[in-house]
Symmetry: none
Subunit: 401 residues, 2 copies
């Protein structure tokens, strides 16, 4: 739905919406059993829900397009992911609660291992311990890239950190320094637009400074920068849909994505139970709750069919505590498919379930790709999930007389 | 998919894609049996494929819109057929290997029979023999339409020929001379835009010259001109999708359409067997092969339900030689439906089958309209066939982080 139309139709109500995102939901058949991960998993709770819900398949970006986590989530939050882009650097920064301002350029950084001739020998510096990385980040904070530019460096986890450059005339249209392969030196950042010259220079100065600061820090004696981006100007959920929205996500990136859309992060839960507890504690204060479940995607990316099945079953076991909250509308969705046989995100459409008092359930349905393909919602753009949730929550008024 | 997005995501791979287009695929139920042509035909090979494939229904142009062959094929090649138009004159010209240049205006011509008062008595001049038409075309080549304009006339088949006007200031926005009915005289061409005056005059001069040249040539003593058009500037498949694409089509028009998109025509095969042989001979040199099968449409246009069933069965019998090539991705599609009970192209959605290692088959599926309506791909724009084929061929990279 066009966001201007959404602004026109959205109206407040007393209803509660929960969107549960199973990251990488949806897969492909195991070559032996010919059953997908969802078809293989024992999911009594999801299946019971499915038989009482609207089902469908979502297309995150466009037919044939494999989405990253950014576009996959933006679509579920109601944004056309081709209109609104979120750079990886921005994702990482907001995911660690770094308060980005519009002038900032945010960069995703990796420590890496460089040989004597500057050739990269390990793009992740042996996944150094987070504690060690924190020490090295302190050294990086001392690097000077010029009088008008402030430098912030924040550790994320293991070899990963965030670099933020703050200054009046920064422009993120510069090239990355990560060549994405071994045996060559890190690249120099080049301006991709005439007005980005100063930013490329600052990034290169930062890299030169880091090379000096990290000489003795092997295996973390170099760094690679990518995902160089500014904050996207996303219309905020509250303004568009007249809802107070909150997120309960374990991983920083998903909290960060939710915050970009205007959601308040409900603490830093460390388990599904803590996520649900966060919802319960803040149930009265918000209208819409985004709950993120990661392990389905992790198992899929690892190419571990059985682990993905187990992750689905684990979620299913824990589902009742979420259902106990009795939201008026519950959506179960995925940001993209991650079929274990591909060991990667994929372009396939994603199972979707919508539970409310106003659905057209098929009592024979189960929660899997095939049932969803036959579902009452058909195959539809993921950006329509938001208006569906809102409509079922009695939060959209009639269009036209 | 927007072609700019396609350019961004497309990446080379070693995979082979075959798109088999059954012209006019998809029909309507026979009034007695209540089964469509596809449901009536015995198609063991297509049915076996269907049970191992993704199925769906394609919408060639827009809901309710009946496509001509041009838009139907352009959509399957990934173009929005409402953005890119191919005039019939252009189709005919490129289909006989006429090397059109951008300044040319191409026209589809018919010999016709005129009475003494110039009224049309047969719009196809009794379908005169191709040899006879060739002789008459030689006369038409002598017609002078002015100093700055070159005239090319080429026979096509029976009563059909192509007229190409070449000159610096030609503009195809002129009206046709074919009134599309009997008992009236051919029309004068009128400019439909101020800058097309000279072109309309040249066309009328050509018609006047032809009337003189053909006085003694009854039943081919007149001509009708339509499909007046310039070459469309189609982004080429190689530039957009990073593929080398080839066509194996028996009929000139489909070779021509494919050539407009940048496909190399693999000779002039005369049978399905020769088409497959052409693919085999050039298998290593190309990534994408378009194979066109005409007789489904011919039977449909003739309103011959049984002949259409037979055409489908004939294709099914021959399918194994194509499958023996073992393409990584096989699409079976139609450019539009041609239901025998309508004896014409129709607006109905068109069965589509996609076979690859990465599908979500329904083992109970067969290849017909009903199974495709329940298929895992849903109902989708035909222009998405191309990104689907590319994604399944591992030729599209991820969008966003």
């Amino acid at each position: 739905m066009d966001l201007d139309l959404a602004r026109l139709l959205a109206r407040p109500a007393e209803t509660k919406i929960v969107l549960l995102v199973l990251d990488g939901l949806g897969g492909l058949s195991h070559p032996q059993t010919r059953r997908t991960e969802l078809q293989t998993a024992r999911t009594p709770h999801l299946n019971r829900l499915a038989a009482q819900s609207d089902l469908g398949l979502t297309v995150p970006v466009a037919p044939g397009v494999t989405p990253g986590s950014g576009p996959g989530h933006l679509a579920l939050f109601g944004y056309d992911p081709l209109m609104f882009e979120v750079g990886r650097g921005v994702l990482e920064a907001v995911g660690i609660d770094f308060a980005l301002v519009p002038e900032d350029v945010a960069v995703r950084g990796n420590f890496c291992t460089l040989a004597r001739d500057d050739a990269i020998t390990d793009r992740r510096a042996g996944r150094i311990a987070t504690k060690r990385a924190q020490k090295l980040v302190e050294r990086l904070r001392t690097i000077d890239v010029g009088p008008a530019i402030e430098v912030f460096v924040e550790p994320v986890r293991e070899h990963r950190f965030v670099l933020v450059l703050r200054g009046p005339d920064l422009d993120a249209r510069v090239s990355e320094t990560d060549p994405q392969r071994l045996g060559v030196a890190p690249l120099r950042s080049e301006p991709l637009h005439p007005s980005a010259l100063a930013t490329a220079q600052a990034i290169n100065q930062f890299c030169d400074g880091a090379r000096r600061q990290l000489t003795d820090a092997a295996p973390a004696n170099g760094l690679l920068l990518r995902g160089i981006a500014k904050l996207p100007q996303l219309p905020q959920l509250e303004d568009v849909w007249k809802i107070q929205a909150a997120s309960a996500a374990i991983y920083p990136m998903y909290r960060g994505l939710a915050r970009l859309a205007g959601m308040t992060a409900l603490g830093r839960p460390a388990s599904f139970d803590e996520q649900v507890t966060a919802l319960r504690q803040h149930w009265d204060a918000y209208d819409y709750f985004f709950v993120h479940y990661k392990s389905t995607d992790t198992a899929g990316e690892d190419g571990d069919f059985d682990a993905k099945v187990a992750a689905i079953e684990e979620l299913d076991r824990q589902l009742p505590v979420l259902l106990d909250l009795e939201p008026d509308v519950l959506g179960v969705a995925g940001d993209h498919a991650t079929p274990a046989i591909l060991a990667a995100h994929s372009w396939h459409s994603v199972p979707f379930l919508l539970h409310s008092p106003y659905t057209r359930p098929d009592p024979r349905a189960t929660f899997d790709e095939l049932s969803c393909a036959h579902g009452s919602l058909g195959t539809f753009p993921a950006a329509a999930v938001m208006p569906f949730l809102m409509a079922h929550a009695s939060r959209l008024s009639k269009y036209g007389a």
